[in-house]
Amino acid sequence: MFDYYLRLALRRCRQNVPMVLLVVLTMAVGIAACMTAMTIFRALSGAPLPGVSPYLYVATMDGREAVDKDNPDYQRPDSLLMLADAKALVDAHRAAQQVAVAQSLASLGNADGKRSEQAYGLMAYGPALQVFGVPLRYGRPWTEAEQSANAPVVVIDTHVAQKLFGIDNAVGRSVTLGQRSFRVIGVFAPWSPRMQIFNLGQRAGNVMGQDENFFVPAQASLDAGVGPFTSGECGKGAPVVSFQSASVAQCRWIEAWVRLDTPAQVGDYGRFLAGYAHVQHDAGRFVYPPQARLYGTQAWMTLNRVVPDDVHLNLMLAGGFLLLCLVNVAGLLAARFLRRQGDVAIRRALGASRRDVFLQHLVETGLLGLIGGVLALPLTWLGLWIVRMQPVSYADAARFSPGVFAILFALSVAVGLLVGVLPAWRMCRQPPALQIKLA
């Protein structure tokens, strides 16, 4: 029966081409607008590190030692810690896993200095690769012994390995970082969080995650003269530190991330963190009440407004627009179907059940929806291309993916059926006798 209804629907589409075109194009524009907004929204929602970040928490506290250059009020939770505090938190081993990290931007060179590459990376105290789930391709991460001995070791990604050495497996080679030579002990596949999660307080406006090209033990990096990307906040009396300075002893610049698997662990760690901060406050190191708190990755991103409000607003707009298109199409379909009251009445008189009539019309609208979806495909592509051309922080999120294709397909059929339900229901309620008289 289905293919018969399909043939009927195709035949009818050919009968009134302008009307069909109007219906199909309206649906296509609505679907495309919605898909464009949804693609961006999807890319910017969900876990920044799938499978890992739901269990990651960042420690925040007011760790200022003296009045800093900025406002004395603690305006919002601050994740930047002094290295000493970060080390203390990591060394306490109170969470399942813990690490302190800071963003760095440094020039990596090969041994003879002929090749070099400007690269972003993380300075870390603790097992950063394990905590963040970085996929190691060759070699190994650094050990605690290497870290405590300030051994000059570094883990790089295949991109840097290719640039400096022309091979992926660069384990055992030497990389110049700052004033020292570092031994490559591991190589990982290119890695970046899906969205920005590190040092959010100072990197407002960055949405997409940074490609991290290397991981290096923090102290060894500082010894070589390579500091964090931004020096964070330095207390009164600290030397004026500039961008990428390694003299950050009096600054708060590093963040502590911990992995906690159960709510009980989260509660315990929260109390441990508050206790630690209070001890520092009571000892007179932290000038202000520390207000220490743990934030889950998602809550931390929301608090720092990583995903711009405009993205949500766009999705709402597109949704409203699609709804409008749907109502419009439903109206047109109702008109289109009602013209055929006569045909339906004859079918009903010849024994077709209401269910048959309903199904027949639903097949027709489903087909129209599908055609709309096919037309929406290039329109969505165009919409995403337009967004990518815009100088917005989330432009990189506007990329077509197979997932998007599947959603688009499902959406267009759903849209076709949804707009058809009301008109089809109206049709199947036609009493046969009266209609035959009219026809």
Binding site: L22, P72, P239
Partner: protein, 405 residues
């Protein structure tokens, strides 16, 4: 024109009528709110910075040590002033739409966190900067030469400053701000004058009320006032002068690094600062236009269908004496009634949508006058859309009535 027969006919097409009305309602809700958002963003973009934007540019260098600042400032000021077309070069810590340098909380008395005024921007400025910015003094006096003190931190420890009128009205409502004092932790300030307008570096990061909460703080070159220079040239020469200045930096001070991103004309900084708002405006206008187009097409489609369906009835009416004008007016009245029904629904919907948006975004309540304007637009759109089909209906000849009855 009698409404009764129109209503009677509509009752026989309840589904289609309801759908068109719903479409109008949705269009009304989205239209009012989208227009409101456009106007809000537009106001944001129009922010008055209070400075002569078209004549000003900023040049930023970094990578110098604290003990080099006096020498650096002298070399930069002299070197840049020598460039042809340069009207003035002076020191400043931040400009509107550039990076924010001097934001801090201030309070009415020392060390108190209860009597706070709010977070303000301290615009640290060297001699000549007031004139270069083109600020307007509305009360009090300009700083004298002795008021330019060395600042090693946010501001000099005991400064005589000018405040913007907006800040003065907020901190000391109904009083003259002249001679008033305020504190930023241990730094003390006394107000000696009021400037008309001066926007903070990031006007919209601190809420709509505090766009102009700025303290114009005179400071001596050196200390923390170094590395950022305000260039003034005539508007048509400015791009060339800025290019020349950027090129001259390596010769004037070989060991510093030019901050490319923050060495631009204020106009460019402004465009950059508001780019996302501009994109949003374009997008919203696009949505409004497409939405109106879709709605109009829907009305045309349905009206055409109704005209076709009623050809015979139209013919009969013509045959028994209705004029073309009567037929035309019938369809126009019908459309007017449906659209009116939609608008009534749409107004409620528009308000609901506005309330929803208000809970999620910092958005004021939708002003009431948007609703009648939206209604007028939709009535106009409906009449325009139905005109074509209605004219076709009016052209139906009476002879149709005699066929196949």
């Amino acid at each position: 024109m009698q409404i009764q027969p129109v209503l009677a006919a509509l009752r026989r097409h309840r589904l289609a009528t309801l759908l068109i009305a719903m479409e109008i309602a949705l269009a009304c809700a989205v239209l009012c709110n989208a227009c409101f958002l456009v106007v809000q963003r537009w106001k944001l973009i129009q922010t008055n910075s209070g400075v002569d934007e078209s004549s000003l540019a900023v040049l930023t260098v970094n990578g110098f040590e604290p003990n080099q600042v006096t020498d650096l400032n002298a070399r930069m000021l002299n070197g840049l002033r020598a460039l042809p077309g340069m009207q003035s070069v002076s020191l400043i810590n931040q400009v509107p739409f550039g990076p924010q340098v001097g934001a801090a909380g201030i309070s009415l008395d020392q060390g108190s966190f209860t009597n706070t005024i709010g977070v303000v921007d301290f615009v640290l400025a060297g001699p000549g900067t007031f004139q270069a910015l083109g600020l307007k003094l509305v009360e009090g006096s300009l700083p004298s030469a002795d008021d330019y003190l060395l600042a090693t931190n946010l501001a000099p420890p005991d400064a005589r400053v000018l405040v913007s009128r907006a800040l003065a009205d907020h901190a000391w409502p109904g009083q003259s701000p002249l001679g008033k004092e305020f504190w930023c932790d241990k730094l003390h300030f006394r107000v000696i004058g009021v400037v008309d307008h001066l926007a903070r570096a990031h006007p919209h990061d601190w809420g709509a009320q505090s766009v102009e909460w700025t303290v114009f703080t005179p400071a001596q070159p050196g200390g923390s006032l170094a590395g950022t220079y305000l260039l003034r040239a005539s508007p048509d020469e400015l791009p060339r002068v800025l290019r020349a200045a950027r090129d001259a930096v390596p010769k004037i001070a070989p060991d510093v690094v030019l901050d490319q991103e923050n060495s631009q004309t204020i106009d460019d900084l402004r465009t950059d600062y508001f780019k996302s708002d501009r994109i949003m405006i374009d997008l919203l206008i696009g949505v409004i236009v497409t939405m109106l187009g879709v709605t109009a097409l829907g009305i045309v489609g349905l009206a055409s269908f109704w005209v076709q369906q009623r050809r015979r009835q139209i013919g009969i009416r013509r045959a028994i004496g209705a004029t073309r004008g009567d037929i035309l007016r019938y369809f126009q009245t019908e459309n007017f009634l449906i659209v009116t029904f939609g608008i009534v629904l749409g107004m409620a919907l528009a308000y609901a949508l506005n309330l929803l948006l208000m809970t999620h975004y910092e958005l004021p309540r939708l002003p009431l006058y948007y609703l009648p304007i939206g209604a007028l637009v939709l009535w106009g759109l409906g009449q325009l859309a139905v005109l074509g089909p209605a004219l076709r209906a009016a052209a139906v000849p009476p002879v149709v009535a005699t066929r196949s009855v």
